[in-house]
Protein backbone atom coordinates (compact mmCIF):
# COMPACT_ATOMS: atom_id res chain seq x y z
CA UNK A 1 0.00 0.00 0.00
CA UNK A 2 1.25 3.43 -0.96
CA UNK A 3 0.22 6.71 0.54
CA UNK A 4 0.22 9.66 -1.83
CA UNK A 5 -0.03 13.16 -0.41
CA UNK A 6 -2.86 15.03 -2.08
CA UNK A 7 -1.30 18.00 -3.86
CA UNK A 8 -3.19 19.39 -6.81
CA UNK A 9 -3.31 16.86 -9.60
CA UNK A 10 -2.06 13.54 -8.22
CA UNK A 11 -4.06 11.48 -10.72
CA UNK A 12 -1.19 10.55 -13.02
CA UNK A 13 1.00 9.33 -10.14
CA UNK A 14 -1.83 7.20 -8.75
CA UNK A 15 -2.62 5.75 -12.19
CA UNK A 16 1.04 4.85 -12.76
CA UNK A 17 1.19 2.91 -9.47
CA UNK A 18 -2.14 1.27 -10.26
CA UNK A 19 -0.73 0.14 -13.60
CA UNK A 20 1.98 -1.59 -11.55
CA UNK A 21 -0.72 -3.35 -9.55
CA UNK A 22 -0.39 -1.29 -6.37
CA UNK A 23 -3.22 0.54 -4.67
CA UNK A 24 -2.78 4.10 -3.43
CA UNK A 25 -4.35 6.05 -0.61
CA UNK A 26 -4.54 9.73 -1.43
CA UNK A 27 -4.62 11.83 1.70
CA UNK A 28 -3.96 15.06 3.58
CA UNK A 29 -4.54 13.48 6.98
CA UNK A 30 -1.42 13.88 9.18
CA UNK A 31 -2.08 10.60 11.05
CA UNK A 32 -2.34 8.65 7.80
CA UNK A 33 0.86 10.29 6.52
CA UNK A 34 2.77 9.58 9.71
CA UNK A 35 1.75 5.90 9.72
CA UNK A 36 2.21 5.27 6.00
CA UNK A 37 4.29 2.31 4.85
CA UNK A 38 5.55 4.15 1.79
CA UNK A 39 4.99 7.81 1.09
CA UNK A 40 4.96 9.77 -2.16
CA UNK A 41 5.00 13.56 -2.39
CA UNK A 42 4.16 14.57 -5.95
CA UNK A 43 4.12 18.20 -6.81
CA UNK A 44 3.40 20.46 -9.68
CA UNK A 45 3.19 24.22 -9.52
CA UNK A 46 4.93 26.61 -7.21
CA UNK A 47 7.28 25.95 -4.25
CA UNK A 48 5.47 28.36 -1.90
CA UNK A 49 2.04 26.99 -2.86
CA UNK A 50 3.11 23.42 -2.18
CA UNK A 51 4.61 24.39 1.19
CA UNK A 52 1.34 26.08 2.07
CA UNK A 53 -0.65 23.00 1.06
CA UNK A 54 1.49 20.65 3.11
CA UNK A 55 1.96 23.00 6.09
CA UNK A 56 -0.50 21.01 8.27
CA UNK A 57 1.46 17.83 7.40
CA UNK A 58 4.93 19.18 8.06
CA UNK A 59 5.49 17.44 11.40
CA UNK A 60 3.92 14.18 10.21
CA UNK A 61 6.10 14.23 7.11
CA UNK A 62 9.30 14.84 9.06
CA UNK A 63 8.38 12.09 11.55
CA UNK A 64 7.69 9.68 8.69
CA UNK A 65 11.04 10.43 7.09
CA UNK A 66 12.92 10.23 10.40
CA UNK A 67 11.35 6.80 11.02
CA UNK A 68 13.27 5.57 7.99
CA UNK A 69 10.46 4.28 5.78
CA UNK A 70 10.67 4.74 1.97
CA UNK A 71 9.88 8.23 0.71
CA UNK A 72 9.63 9.37 -2.90
CA UNK A 73 9.52 13.03 -3.92
CA UNK A 74 8.65 14.11 -7.46
CA UNK A 75 9.38 17.50 -9.12
CA UNK A 76 8.37 20.23 -6.65
CA UNK A 77 8.09 17.31 -4.19
CA UNK A 78 11.89 17.12 -4.52
CA UNK A 79 12.41 20.87 -4.29
CA UNK A 80 10.49 21.34 -1.00
CA UNK A 81 12.88 18.92 0.73
CA UNK A 82 15.46 21.73 0.55
CA UNK A 83 15.85 24.91 2.57
CA UNK A 84 14.45 27.57 0.25
CA UNK A 85 13.73 28.46 -3.37
CA UNK A 86 14.28 31.44 -5.64
CA UNK A 87 10.68 30.88 -6.69
CA UNK A 88 9.22 31.77 -3.28
CA UNK A 89 11.68 33.94 -1.35
CA UNK A 90 11.16 33.88 2.42
CA UNK A 91 9.26 30.56 2.41
CA UNK A 92 11.09 27.84 4.33
CA UNK A 93 11.18 24.37 2.80
CA UNK A 94 11.12 21.13 4.79
CA UNK A 95 14.92 21.44 5.34
CA UNK A 96 15.42 17.67 5.10
CA UNK A 97 18.24 18.27 2.63
CA UNK A 98 20.84 21.04 2.80
CA UNK A 99 20.80 23.43 -0.14
CA UNK A 100 18.56 25.69 -2.17
CA UNK A 101 16.45 25.74 -5.31
CA UNK A 102 17.58 27.89 -8.24
CA UNK A 103 16.02 29.12 -11.47
CA UNK A 104 17.39 28.17 -14.88
CA UNK A 105 19.12 31.20 -16.36
CA UNK A 106 19.92 29.83 -19.81
CA UNK A 107 17.69 28.56 -22.61
CA UNK A 108 13.93 28.28 -22.74
CA UNK A 109 12.18 28.26 -19.37
CA UNK A 110 10.43 26.02 -18.42
CA UNK A 111 12.47 23.09 -19.63
CA UNK A 112 9.78 20.89 -21.18
CA UNK A 113 10.48 17.49 -22.65
CA UNK A 114 12.67 14.41 -22.56
CA UNK A 115 16.22 14.63 -21.31
CA UNK A 116 18.81 12.06 -20.25
CA UNK A 117 20.12 10.97 -16.87
CA UNK A 118 23.78 10.60 -16.07
CA UNK A 119 23.73 8.23 -13.14
CA UNK A 120 25.16 5.20 -11.39
CA UNK A 121 22.11 4.80 -9.16
CA UNK A 122 20.61 1.31 -8.92
CA UNK A 123 17.07 2.61 -9.45
CA UNK A 124 17.89 4.62 -12.55
CA UNK A 125 19.26 3.76 -15.98
CA UNK A 126 22.27 5.70 -17.16
CA UNK A 127 21.60 7.66 -20.40
CA UNK A 128 17.88 6.89 -20.30
CA UNK A 129 15.39 9.57 -21.33
CA UNK A 130 12.87 10.83 -18.78
CA UNK A 131 10.26 13.60 -18.95
CA UNK A 132 10.97 16.97 -17.34
CA UNK A 133 8.85 20.06 -16.79
CA UNK A 134 10.73 22.52 -14.63
CA UNK A 135 11.92 26.08 -14.36
CA UNK A 136 13.85 25.45 -11.14
CA UNK A 137 16.39 22.85 -10.00
CA UNK A 138 17.96 21.88 -6.68
CA UNK A 139 21.48 22.80 -5.62
CA UNK A 140 22.39 20.44 -2.76
CA UNK A 141 25.04 21.48 -0.22
CA UNK A 142 25.68 17.88 0.81
CA UNK A 143 26.67 14.73 -1.02
CA UNK A 144 23.25 13.35 -2.00
CA UNK A 145 23.22 13.74 -5.81
CA UNK A 146 22.61 10.46 -7.66
CA UNK A 147 21.79 11.76 -11.14
CA UNK A 148 22.51 14.83 -13.22
CA UNK A 149 21.09 16.11 -16.48
CA UNK A 150 22.34 18.64 -19.02
CA UNK A 151 20.16 21.65 -19.77
CA UNK A 152 22.59 24.33 -20.92
CA UNK A 153 24.77 23.04 -18.09
CA UNK A 154 24.52 20.18 -15.60
CA UNK A 155 21.82 20.23 -12.95
CA UNK A 156 20.83 17.73 -10.27
CA UNK A 157 17.98 15.50 -11.47
CA UNK A 158 17.82 12.97 -8.59
CA UNK A 159 18.95 12.77 -4.98
CA UNK A 160 19.11 10.01 -2.40
CA UNK A 161 19.55 10.57 1.31
CA UNK A 162 19.04 7.46 3.44
CA UNK A 163 15.39 6.48 2.90
CA UNK A 164 14.59 9.59 0.87
CA UNK A 165 14.66 9.27 -2.92
CA UNK A 166 13.56 12.26 -4.95
CA UNK A 167 13.59 13.13 -8.63
CA UNK A 168 13.17 16.33 -10.64
CA UNK A 169 11.57 14.56 -13.60
CA UNK A 170 8.17 12.87 -13.79
CA UNK A 171 8.53 9.06 -13.68
CA UNK A 172 4.74 8.80 -14.02
CA UNK A 173 5.00 10.50 -17.42
CA UNK A 174 8.22 8.88 -18.59
CA UNK A 175 6.72 5.86 -20.33
CA UNK A 176 8.20 2.40 -19.68
CA UNK A 177 11.44 3.87 -18.29
CA UNK A 178 9.47 5.80 -15.68
CA UNK A 179 7.31 2.86 -14.68
CA UNK A 180 10.46 0.78 -14.15
CA UNK A 181 11.84 3.46 -11.82
CA UNK A 182 8.65 3.35 -9.77
CA UNK A 183 8.70 -0.45 -9.75
CA UNK A 184 12.26 -0.54 -8.42
CA UNK A 185 11.36 1.99 -5.75
CA UNK A 186 8.51 -0.30 -4.67
CA UNK A 187 10.99 -3.13 -4.25
CA UNK A 188 13.43 -1.22 -2.07
Amino acid sequence: MITVIETGNVGSVVRAFEALGVQCTVTRDPTVVQNAERLVLPGVGIFGDLMEQIAPLKEALIEFITAGRPFLGICVGLQVLFEESDESPGVAGLCICKGNVRKFTKGKVPQIGWNTLTTKDVHLDNKSYVYFVNSYYVEPKEDITVATTDYNGEFVSAIRKDNVFAVQFHPEKSGGVGLRILERWLEC
Binding site: W114, V133, G175
Partner: protein
Amino acid sequence: MLAKRIIPCMDIKNGRVVKGVQFENLRDAGDPVSLAKEYNRQGADEVSFLDIMASVESRDTVLELVKTVSKELFIPFAVGGGIRTVDDARAILQAGAEKVSIGSAAVINSSLIDEAVQQFGAQAIVLSIDAKKNPTMDSGYELYINGGREATGLDALDFAKKTAAGELLLNAIDADGTKTGYDIAGTKLFSEALTIPVIASGGAGSPEDILAVLTEGKADAALAASIFHYGKYTIADVKAYLRKNDVEVRQ
Protein backbone atom coordinates in the same frame (compact mmCIF):
# COMPACT_ATOMS: atom_id res chain seq x y z
CA MET B 1 20.71 17.51 -23.77
CA LEU B 2 17.00 18.14 -24.08
CA ALA B 3 15.59 16.14 -26.99
CA LYS B 4 13.44 17.68 -29.71
CA ARG B 5 9.89 16.37 -29.45
CA ILE B 6 7.71 14.77 -32.10
CA ILE B 7 4.03 15.17 -31.34
CA PRO B 8 1.35 13.44 -33.41
CA CYS B 9 -1.96 15.29 -33.31
CA MET B 10 -5.37 13.68 -33.65
CA ASP B 11 -8.50 15.56 -34.65
CA ILE B 12 -11.40 14.21 -32.61
CA LYS B 13 -15.07 14.51 -33.41
CA ASN B 14 -17.63 12.83 -31.17
CA GLY B 15 -14.89 10.74 -29.58
CA ARG B 16 -13.58 9.42 -32.90
CA VAL B 17 -10.48 10.28 -34.90
CA VAL B 18 -11.64 12.23 -37.91
CA LYS B 19 -9.04 11.49 -40.53
CA GLY B 20 -8.95 7.80 -41.37
CA VAL B 21 -5.77 6.21 -40.19
CA GLN B 22 -4.27 3.28 -41.98
CA PHE B 23 -2.16 1.11 -39.77
CA GLU B 24 -2.30 -2.58 -40.50
CA ASN B 25 -2.02 -3.55 -36.87
CA LEU B 26 -4.93 -1.38 -35.77
CA ARG B 27 -8.32 -3.00 -35.90
CA ASP B 28 -10.21 0.21 -35.29
CA ALA B 29 -8.53 3.12 -37.04
CA GLY B 30 -11.01 5.62 -35.62
CA ASP B 31 -10.39 4.79 -31.98
CA PRO B 32 -8.24 7.54 -30.44
CA VAL B 33 -7.05 5.31 -27.60
CA SER B 34 -5.74 2.58 -29.94
CA LEU B 35 -4.13 5.18 -32.13
CA ALA B 36 -2.51 6.96 -29.19
CA LYS B 37 -1.09 3.63 -28.00
CA GLU B 38 0.23 2.90 -31.47
CA TYR B 39 1.93 6.31 -31.59
CA ASN B 40 3.39 5.65 -28.16
CA ARG B 41 4.76 2.33 -29.43
CA GLN B 42 6.32 4.14 -32.40
CA GLY B 43 8.11 6.53 -30.05
CA ALA B 44 5.89 9.63 -29.86
CA ASP B 45 7.16 12.03 -27.20
CA GLU B 46 3.71 13.40 -26.52
CA VAL B 47 0.27 13.05 -28.02
CA SER B 48 -2.13 15.85 -28.81
CA PHE B 49 -5.91 15.60 -29.11
CA LEU B 50 -7.87 18.34 -30.76
CA ASP B 51 -11.62 18.24 -30.21
CA ILE B 52 -12.76 19.87 -33.41
CA MET B 53 -16.43 19.80 -32.46
CA ALA B 54 -15.79 21.35 -29.08
CA SER B 55 -19.48 21.61 -28.30
CA VAL B 56 -21.00 21.23 -24.87
CA GLU B 57 -22.35 17.83 -25.95
CA SER B 58 -18.95 16.57 -27.02
CA ARG B 59 -17.31 17.56 -23.73
CA ASP B 60 -18.36 14.42 -21.84
CA THR B 61 -17.08 12.22 -24.65
CA VAL B 62 -13.74 14.00 -24.55
CA LEU B 63 -13.49 13.68 -20.78
CA GLU B 64 -14.13 9.94 -21.05
CA LEU B 65 -11.44 9.71 -23.71
CA VAL B 66 -8.95 11.60 -21.53
CA LYS B 67 -9.66 9.27 -18.59
CA THR B 68 -9.14 6.16 -20.69
CA VAL B 69 -5.95 7.45 -22.31
CA SER B 70 -4.47 8.45 -18.96
CA LYS B 71 -4.94 4.91 -17.63
CA GLU B 72 -3.16 3.36 -20.58
CA LEU B 73 -0.55 5.85 -21.66
CA PHE B 74 2.22 7.05 -19.39
CA ILE B 75 3.56 9.83 -21.56
CA PRO B 76 2.33 13.43 -21.59
CA PHE B 77 -0.68 14.35 -23.64
CA ALA B 78 -2.46 17.61 -24.37
CA VAL B 79 -6.08 18.36 -25.16
CA GLY B 80 -7.32 21.37 -27.08
CA GLY B 81 -10.51 22.65 -28.56
CA GLY B 82 -13.33 24.53 -26.91
CA ILE B 83 -11.63 25.33 -23.62
CA ARG B 84 -13.34 28.57 -22.72
CA THR B 85 -13.21 28.74 -18.93
CA VAL B 86 -10.95 27.79 -16.04
CA ASP B 87 -13.52 25.11 -15.16
CA ASP B 88 -13.21 23.58 -18.65
CA ALA B 89 -9.43 23.41 -18.17
CA ARG B 90 -9.78 21.95 -14.68
CA ALA B 91 -12.10 19.18 -15.89
CA ILE B 92 -9.64 18.09 -18.58
CA LEU B 93 -6.58 18.25 -16.31
CA GLN B 94 -8.34 16.36 -13.53
CA ALA B 95 -9.39 13.71 -16.02
CA GLY B 96 -5.68 13.11 -16.58
CA ALA B 97 -4.35 15.30 -19.39
CA GLU B 98 -0.94 16.83 -18.78
CA LYS B 99 -1.77 20.05 -20.58
CA VAL B 100 -4.62 21.97 -22.12
CA SER B 101 -4.16 24.18 -25.12
CA ILE B 102 -6.17 27.34 -25.29
CA GLY B 103 -6.70 29.22 -28.54
CA SER B 104 -9.48 31.62 -29.49
CA ALA B 105 -10.74 31.83 -25.91
CA ALA B 106 -7.41 33.34 -24.85
CA VAL B 107 -8.00 36.21 -27.27
CA ILE B 108 -11.65 36.73 -26.43
CA ASN B 109 -11.04 36.56 -22.68
CA SER B 110 -7.64 38.10 -22.06
CA SER B 111 -7.46 36.98 -18.41
CA LEU B 112 -8.29 33.31 -19.06
CA ILE B 113 -4.69 32.13 -19.42
CA ASP B 114 -3.50 34.18 -16.44
CA GLU B 115 -6.20 32.62 -14.27
CA ALA B 116 -5.54 29.11 -15.56
CA VAL B 117 -1.78 29.51 -14.98
CA GLN B 118 -2.39 30.72 -11.45
CA GLN B 119 -4.56 27.68 -10.72
CA PHE B 120 -2.68 24.91 -12.50
CA GLY B 121 0.81 26.28 -13.20
CA ALA B 122 2.30 27.46 -16.50
CA GLN B 123 3.42 23.91 -17.36
CA ALA B 124 -0.21 22.84 -17.77
CA ILE B 125 -1.22 25.61 -20.15
CA VAL B 126 -0.32 25.88 -23.83
CA LEU B 127 -1.21 29.00 -25.79
CA SER B 128 -2.30 27.89 -29.24
CA ILE B 129 -2.27 30.60 -31.88
CA ASP B 130 -3.15 30.76 -35.55
CA ALA B 131 -0.75 33.15 -37.26
CA LYS B 132 -1.14 34.34 -40.84
CA LYS B 133 1.33 36.41 -42.82
CA ASN B 134 0.39 40.07 -42.96
CA PRO B 135 3.07 42.62 -43.89
CA THR B 136 1.21 45.46 -42.17
CA MET B 137 1.89 43.86 -38.77
CA ASP B 138 5.15 44.70 -36.95
CA SER B 139 6.17 41.04 -36.80
CA GLY B 140 4.67 40.26 -40.21
CA TYR B 141 2.10 37.91 -38.63
CA GLU B 142 -1.50 38.60 -37.72
CA LEU B 143 -3.35 36.67 -35.03
CA TYR B 144 -6.41 34.75 -36.23
CA ILE B 145 -9.13 33.01 -34.24
CA ASN B 146 -11.99 30.57 -34.78
CA GLY B 147 -10.02 28.00 -36.69
CA GLY B 148 -8.16 30.59 -38.73
CA ARG B 149 -11.29 32.13 -40.17
CA GLU B 150 -11.40 35.39 -38.29
CA ALA B 151 -8.70 38.10 -38.27
CA THR B 152 -8.21 39.94 -34.97
CA GLY B 153 -6.11 42.91 -36.13
CA LEU B 154 -3.58 41.95 -33.43
CA ASP B 155 0.10 41.25 -34.01
CA ALA B 156 0.52 37.52 -33.37
CA LEU B 157 4.06 37.74 -32.00
CA ASP B 158 3.19 40.64 -29.75
CA PHE B 159 0.30 38.62 -28.36
CA ALA B 160 2.48 35.55 -27.78
CA LYS B 161 5.17 37.59 -26.01
CA LYS B 162 2.68 38.69 -23.35
CA THR B 163 1.35 35.26 -22.46
CA ALA B 164 1.75 33.59 -19.08
CA ALA B 165 1.41 30.13 -20.68
CA GLY B 166 4.30 27.67 -20.38
CA GLU B 167 4.43 26.79 -24.06
CA LEU B 168 3.36 28.11 -27.45
CA LEU B 169 1.71 26.03 -30.16
CA LEU B 170 2.32 28.01 -33.31
CA ASN B 171 0.02 27.11 -36.16
CA ALA B 172 1.15 28.82 -39.36
CA ILE B 173 -2.14 28.86 -41.21
CA ASP B 174 -0.65 29.74 -44.57
CA ALA B 175 1.11 26.39 -44.48
CA ASP B 176 -1.56 24.33 -42.71
CA GLY B 177 -2.80 21.35 -44.66
CA THR B 178 -0.48 22.06 -47.60
CA LYS B 179 2.08 19.31 -46.77
CA THR B 180 4.62 21.60 -48.44
CA GLY B 181 6.55 22.21 -45.25
CA TYR B 182 6.35 24.29 -42.11
CA ASP B 183 6.74 28.07 -42.16
CA ILE B 184 10.44 27.96 -41.28
CA ALA B 185 11.10 31.70 -41.16
CA GLY B 186 7.97 32.34 -39.08
CA THR B 187 8.75 29.58 -36.61
CA LYS B 188 12.31 30.88 -36.22
CA LEU B 189 11.00 34.40 -35.61
CA PHE B 190 8.69 33.23 -32.81
CA SER B 191 11.11 30.75 -31.27
CA GLU B 192 13.93 33.30 -31.05
CA ALA B 193 11.71 36.06 -29.71
CA LEU B 194 10.06 33.98 -26.98
CA THR B 195 11.50 32.56 -23.76
CA ILE B 196 9.04 29.63 -23.65
CA PRO B 197 9.25 26.49 -25.81
CA VAL B 198 7.62 26.66 -29.25
CA ILE B 199 5.79 23.75 -30.88
CA ALA B 200 5.62 24.19 -34.66
CA SER B 201 2.45 23.14 -36.42
CA GLY B 202 1.07 23.24 -39.95
CA GLY B 203 2.49 22.00 -43.21
CA ALA B 204 4.44 18.84 -42.36
CA GLY B 205 4.66 16.54 -45.36
CA SER B 206 7.96 14.74 -44.96
CA PRO B 207 10.78 13.97 -42.50
CA GLU B 208 12.79 16.70 -44.28
CA ASP B 209 10.13 19.27 -43.30
CA ILE B 210 10.36 18.18 -39.67
CA LEU B 211 14.16 18.35 -39.75
CA ALA B 212 14.01 21.86 -41.22
CA VAL B 213 11.63 23.26 -38.62
CA LEU B 214 13.60 21.76 -35.72
CA THR B 215 16.95 23.03 -37.00
CA GLU B 216 16.56 26.16 -39.18
CA GLY B 217 13.17 26.95 -37.63
CA LYS B 218 14.56 26.52 -34.08
CA ALA B 219 11.35 24.87 -32.91
CA ASP B 220 11.49 22.88 -29.67
CA ALA B 221 8.92 20.40 -30.91
CA ALA B 222 7.14 19.52 -34.14
CA LEU B 223 3.47 18.66 -34.27
CA ALA B 224 2.10 16.79 -37.26
CA ALA B 225 -1.08 15.01 -38.21
CA SER B 226 -1.57 13.56 -41.66
CA ILE B 227 2.07 12.59 -42.27
CA PHE B 228 1.68 10.01 -39.50
CA HIS B 229 -2.02 9.22 -39.88
CA TYR B 230 -1.78 7.84 -43.34
CA GLY B 231 1.08 5.59 -42.39
CA LYS B 232 3.42 7.08 -44.98
CA TYR B 233 6.05 7.55 -42.32
CA THR B 234 6.10 6.20 -38.80
CA ILE B 235 7.38 8.30 -35.93
CA ALA B 236 10.29 5.88 -35.70
CA ASP B 237 11.13 6.61 -39.36
CA VAL B 238 11.17 10.35 -38.71
CA LYS B 239 13.26 9.96 -35.57
CA ALA B 240 15.77 7.75 -37.36
CA TYR B 241 16.08 10.43 -40.07
CA LEU B 242 16.52 13.18 -37.47
CA ARG B 243 19.17 11.19 -35.61
CA LYS B 244 21.04 10.63 -38.83
CA ASN B 245 21.09 14.41 -39.20
CA ASP B 246 22.46 14.96 -35.69
CA VAL B 247 19.23 16.10 -34.08
CA GLU B 248 18.85 14.92 -30.49
CA VAL B 249 15.71 12.81 -30.20
CA ARG B 250 14.54 10.34 -27.58
CA GLN B 251 15.46 6.78 -28.52
